[in-house]
Symmetry: C2
Subunit: 142 residues, 2 copies
C-alpha cells in the first residue's frame, strides 16, 4: 500500500495500530473490495477511503480536482484495491499460497456495510495521510 501510494501519488501514508474489526460498517466514503480464492484459503481485501483522502489521491495521481465521489473516483478506488492486492498476492505466493482474484467491486457510502464475500475475522489496518486516515481490511474465511 505504502509502495503504491508513494510511487503513484507521492504520498507517504503512515501505518497505525492493527485491530480486529468487530462490525461491517464502512469506515470511508468509498470502498473497493476484491475476493481471493485459492485451494488453501479464501478471503478478501477491502480498502476504504474517506472523501477528503480519495479526492486528494485523485488529484495527485490524475492531476484533476474532484469535489464528489463520482464514477472516475470509484474507478480509481477499484484500481488502488487491485494494485494493493497484487502486491499482497505476490507475498502470499512466496509463502506457498496461491490465489485467483476477482475484479474489484466498488461501493460508495459512509457507514454502509462492507460486504466481504466470506465470513471470518477481519483485520483492520489504518494508515494516516496529511488529509486523514484510510483503512485496509483483510478478511479470511474461518
Amino acid at each position: 500500500m505504502v509502495n503504491v501510494l508513494s510511487t503513484m501519488a507521492q504520498m507517504q501514508p503512515k501505518p497505525g495500530k492493527p485491530s480486529l474489526k468487530q462490525d461491517d460498517k464502512a469506515l470511508g466514503a468509498v470502498t473497493g473490495i476484491i475476493a481471493m480464492e485459492g485451494p488453501q484459503a479464501k478471503g478478501s481485501l477491502a480498502i476504504s477511503f474517506p472523501k477528503a483522502v480519495i479526492l486528494d489521491i485523485h488529484k495527485r495521481m490524475l492531476h484533476e480536482e474532484k469535489s464528489e465521489v463520482d464514477d472516475m473516483v470509484k474507478d480509481l478506488t477499484g484500481e488502488l484495491a487491485n494494485m494493493v492486492l497484487g502486491g499482497a498476492k505476490r507475498l502470499l505466493e512466496e509463502e506457498g499460497y496461491s490465489f485467483g482474484l476477482t475484479l474489484p467491486s466498488v461501493q460508495a457510502g459512509d457507514g454502509e456495510p462492507v460486504v466481504h464475500p466470506y465470513k471470518g475475522p477481519k483485520i483492520l489496518l489504518p494508515f494516516s495521510t496529511d488529509v486523514g486516515e484510510f483503512y485496509v481490511e483483510i478478511c479470511f474465511e474461518n
Copy 2:
C-alpha cells in the same frame, strides 16, 4: 517460512487454512516466541513444531539424528523463529511499520500455554510437511 525451510532444509512446507486461535495451548512439542515492539504496533510471532517435525528439520539442517527435544533442538527452534521473523519484519518495514525484536524464548511441552507477551487476537497459519504439520502464530496487541 517456506523460503527459510526450502533453502536450509530442502523441505517444501505447504500452507493451510488460516484461522483465529481461540486458546493458548501449544500445538507442538517445542515453540519459539519473539516479541516485536514498535511505535505503531506491538505483537509477537510464535512457531510450534511437533516432535517428529522438528527432529526431521534438525536432521536435514544439521545432519544429525536426535530422538528427543534437547537443548540443541530448542536452539534450532529459536533460530528458525528468528529467521522467519526477520523475513516478516522486512515485509512490514516496506509497509512503513518499524519494530525492534527481542531474543527468541523457547519453550517445550505439548499443550502447555504459549505465552504471547501482548494480549490480542492470534492468527494461526498451519503448514504441512511429509512428517506432519507445524504452526505459525501471529499475535498483535489489541
